[in-house]
Symmetry: C2
DNA sequence: TGCATATTTGGTCGTTTTACCATACGTGAA
DNA sequence: TTCACGTATGGTAAAACGACCAAATATGCA
C-alpha cells in the first residue's frame, strides 16, 4: 500500500468514524429531512450543548455536514445526502447478525436436546 | 427517542465505528474480492499479528465479517457484501470536501488580490 | 507424542475520545 | 451599549482504543 492509497483509506475511515457514534449518526439522520439548527438537533438528545456542538464539529470536519450561520442560529445540513443511503445495508448487517444468533440458539437447543436423550 | 430506537441507532453506529479504522476498512475492502485467511490479510499491513487479529475480531463482533476455520487457517469473509457499496458515496464526500478547500483557497486568493490593490 | 505453523488472548501503556462544567464569543433586541 | 440568547471553546477526568510483547491455543505433520 503506497502513501496515496494509505491517505485515501485513512480519509474514508475518518468519515465512517465520524458517523460511528450514536449521537452523531442520529444527528445525520435528522438532517436527512433538511437543515436544522443546533437547538433543534439538541432537542431530543440528553447531553450538554457543548457536547452536541463538539459532535457537530466532528461531523463538519469530516465533511459530512455543512454549516451556515444565519442570525443567531447556526444551521447544519448534510453535505452529500447519499451518506444515508448506506443505512439499509447497515440494517441488513444487523438482521444477519440477529439471524446468526437465532440459528446459534436453535443449534444449542438441538444439541442440548440430543444430550438430554 | 425511546429505548428501542436508541438501541437501534447504537447498533448501527457500532457497525460504522467498526469500519471507521483504516486497517479494518482496508481489510473489509480486501474481503470484497472473496474470503481470505489472516495471513493473507496481514501480508500488506505493517502491524503485529495480534493487532490484526484483534481488528478482525472487532469486525466480527460488529457482524461485518464471518469466520470459518479450515485446517490451520482461519478464513474471513464479508457477511453482507453490500457494506462496501457505500464507498462511492464516502468518496463523494471526500471530493466535496476537497472541492470546498479549492474554493476556499480561490476565495482567499481573490481576497488577497483585492487587498493588494 | 512432539514440533512447527496459524491465530488468539492477556497484559501493559501511551493516546484518543467523550462527557461535563465553566467560560467566551457573536448577534440581534431593547 | 447592555442584555439575553444561541453556539463554540478550553479544561479536565474517566473510559475506551490501539499497538506491542509474551504466552496460550489449535491443528496437521513427522
Amino acid at each position: 500500500m503506497n502513501a496515496k492509497e494509505k491517505a485515501l483509506i485513512e480519509a474514508k475511515a475518518n468519515i465512517l468514524k465520524a458517523l460511528g457514534h450514536p449521537t452523531r449518526l442520529w444527528m445525520a439522520e435528522q438532517l436527512a429531512g433538511g437543515e436544522k439548527c443546533v437547538r433543534e438537533l439538541a432537542k431530543n438528545i440528553d447531553a450538554d450543548f457543548s457536547t452536541i456542538s463538539k459532535h457537530l464539529s466532528i461531523l463538519k470536519q469530516a465533511g459530512v455536514v455543512d454549516v451556515d450561520k444565519r442570525g443567531k442560529q447556526v444551521y447544519y445540513r448534510l453535505k452529500v445526502p447519499c451518506i444515508l443511503n448506506f443505512m439499509p445495508c447497515v440494517e441488513a448487517v444487523l438482521q444477519a447478525t440477529a439471524q446468526s444468533h437465532i440459528e446459534l440458539m436453535q443449534h444449542k437447543q438441538v444439541v442440548s436436546e440430543i444430550e438430554a436423550l
